[in-house]
């Protein structure tokens, strides 16, 4: 599900609702905590092949065939402006998707009255493109320039595109205050994004004060905007403001937000604000999502303010400075669905005050000082889908309090002291999809409790002490899409129990130093694999041939094996065209 969201986020559309905030993915799952490669895989998947070819099986429409035809030979077309706008829009989108659009082919789109130009992260976009882009004139509604080389002077030509509703300049490091000024007349803008821009300052933000229709403003990682939020005072329609990782933001910056009563989403991660700054937010009664992750000066005293925000459903307090004192106010936040308290110095006595939060669907207690006795307070949270207990003092005795949480889809018990006997308490949680048991006290015996969890799609046994006999218990987990067993105890014999898990797309068997080429032979039928890691094993260059059927493989890691980067490169050239990331390299 999260993977889907990331893929969707790769494409862009003015119409598409992208309100799923990062807080969700962070709050819901720690799936990417270790394998950041999965995230990378998702984004790189978003631009492979063509829009049309993706729909395998279904007969392509004549329109799709024509668009493909144009895409194959785009340079012979000089003018699309006689076509209806929705057709030229489709051609444009396909060219972007297949990366066939160049400055030359762009020329054919002059005066096409196109509405949406999704050029985010598209290679080569610079000021030379602006002439054709601005020729769409008042038809133009949204442009995504993120990652481009557009400069301040390039923005001048957007002045005539007065109907623009959405502009994205994320990672455009050649845009500064001067460029912002050129946008000040675009009063139809409802969405504007300038992530990671070090040049924008309070002075430049003056240009935003006229954009009174603004609903969504994103200034993530803009370190120079301190003092600039005063210019947002009149943007009373603002619903979403992201100033994450602007580490210049202080309490004074919060004051201008106090009148923005339409705000539903506010993200202020890693700022310098204190509980006093939070107090300015107490009138924002539509606030639904508040992300304060990494605000080291925010303590439980801010709950005095937050309890006034009765609509609050998503609250991220990860890496704030909460301790037990003051936490009793949590009990008033009864509408919370997602709560992230990870990395705070809270103990079991704080959890008492959470017991009434029965609407919670996701609770993150990563690295908190909580243990078995605290979990009793979670036993009534019957809506809970995701529970993060990584790096806590939770052990086997606590898990019995979770056995009634029948909606749980994801539990992270990594780096806890959970043992085999405790895992039996999880065996009735048949809704579980994601289970992280990367814990040293988990062994083969514990896995016998998992055989009933046939819905599992992700199982992480990274540091668990699993040997061949333990893998017998995995044979029926046919829906597993990702599996990590890296405790060192696995041999080729155990891999026989894995070879028929045909849904697997990610398999990590690294650190099992006894695995040989036989392992590669055994898994050669897992043709869905996108990512494979068998590092630190006895796999050799002569075993690589077994990987030839794995046509979907995009990432292959075989560090510290008996082979060279060249061996993999050869395999890539002859048999694995989709392989884009491999080690050794």
């Amino acid at each position: 599900m999260i993977l889907d969201y990331i893929i969707m986020g790769g494409a862009c559309s003015r119409k598409r609702d992208q309100q799923v905030e990062d807080i969700l993915s962070r709050g819901v799952s720690g799936k990417y905590s270790k394998s950041s490669s999965s995230k990378w895989l998702a984004t790189s998947l978003s631009r492979s092949g063509s829009d049309v070819k993706r729909k395998n099986g279904e007969c392509p429409s004549l329109m799709e065939l024509c668009i493909l035809k144009i895409q194959e030979d785009v340079d012979r077309y000089t003018k699309f402006s006689d076509l209806p706008r929705d057709i030229s829009q489709q051609i444009f989108d396909e060219l972007v998707y297949s990366q066939r659009l160049t400055l030359k082919s762009l020329e054919a789109f002059r005066d096409c009255a196109i509405q949406d130009l999704c050029l985010g992260e598209y290679p080569g976009v610079n000021d030379d493109w602006m002439d054709v882009i601005s020729s769409q004139s008042t038809s133009l509604l949204s442009v995504d320039f993120s990652g481009s080389d557009i400069t301040d002077s390039g923005l001048v030509s957007l002045k005539g595109c007065t109907n623009l509703e959405s502009l994205n300049f994320n990672f455009c490091d050649q845009i500064s205050n001067r460029g912002l000024e050129h946008l000040s007349g675009l009063s139809n803008l409802t969405s504007l994004s300038f992530r990671r821009n070090a040049a924008i300052t309070a002075q430049g933000m003056h240009a935003l004060s006229n954009l009174v229709n603004m609903k969504k403003l994103d200034l993530e990682k803009c370190p120079g905007i301190h003092g600039g939020l005063v210019h947002l005072r009149d943007l009373t329609k603002l619903e979403s403001l992201n100033i994450k990782w602007c580490n210049c933001i202080t309490d004074a910056d919060m004051e201008p937000l106090s009148e923005l009563t339409n705000l539903r989403s506010l993200q202020i991660c890693c700022s310098r604000i204190t509980d006093i700054g939070i107090s300015y937010l107490k009138g924002l009664n539509k606030l639904n999502l508040l992300n304060l992750e990494g605000c080291r000066h925010v303590t439980a005293a801010c709950l005095d303010t937050l309890t006034a925000l009765t609509g609050l459903m998503f609250l991220n307090l990860n890496r704030c400075n909460f301790s037990d004192s003051g936490c009793e106010k949590f009990s008033d936040l009864i509408n919370l669905k997602i709560l992230n308290l990870g990395m705070n110095s809270i103990t079991n006595s704080c959890l008492v005050h959470l017991r009434g939060l029965t609407k919670l669907e996701s609770l993150n207690l990563d690295s908190c000082r909580i243990g078995d006795e605290g979990l009793v307070h979670l036993s009534g949270m019957l809506e809970l889908k995701s529970l993060e207990l990584s790096d806590t003092e939770v052990g086997s005795n606590g898990l019995r309090h979770l056995s009634g949480l029948s909606n749980l889809e994801s539990i992270n018990l990594s780096f806890t002291v959970v043992t085999d006997s405790g895992l039996r308490k999880l065996s009735g949680l048949t809704s579980l999809r994601t289970l992280n048991l990367d814990a040293r006290h988990v062994t083969d015996a514990g896995l016998s409790a998992l055989t009933s969890l046939t819905g599992l799609t992700h199982l992480d046994l990274f540091g668990a002490r699993i040997t061949d006999s333990g893998t017998n218990h995995l044979r029926n987990l046919k829906k597993l899409q990702s599996l990590e067993i890296c405790g060192g105890g696995l041999t080729d014999t155990g891999v026989k129990n894995i070879k028929d898990l045909s849904s697997l797309t990610l398999l990590n068997l690294s650190q099992n130093s006894n695995l040989t080429d036989k392992t590669l032979e055994l898994i050669s039928g897992l043709t869905g694999l996108v990512s494979l890691n068998v590092s630190n094993s006895r796999v050799s260059s002569s075993g690589l041939r077994h990987l030839k059927p794995l046509k979907n493989l995009r990432s292959l890691t075989l560090e510290s094996c008996k082979l060279s980067a060249n061996d993999i490169r050869k395999l890539q050239a002859t048999d694995l065209p989709n392989l884009v990331n491999f080690r050794p390299e």
Binding site: C59, S61, L62, M63, L65, C66, I67, K69, I70, D73, R76, Y77, F80, D82, L83, P84, D86, I87
Partner: protein
Amino acid sequence: MRETVKLISMEGFEFVIDREAAMVSQTIRSMLTSPGGFSESKDGVVTFPDISTTILEKICQYFYWSLQYSRGKETEFHIEPELTLELMMAANYLHT
């Protein structure tokens, strides 16, 4: 006997094709099936004053190609580059 329909181009050229093939187009389908609405549904004749003979011929070819495709014969459909833009306009109108 297989049911046929007649499609008439801008220049008056008539294409007699299987009704099943013509139904690949959502637009023609609704013309032929809407009860009491279009006269086309009675006569089985559809005139396209905006579609040239060359294009209409290509479209008929696509109809048959599409039927074959959906029966599992996945061949390539050839489109002459010089026809592409005009063909798109027609495909857009015909919801094909």
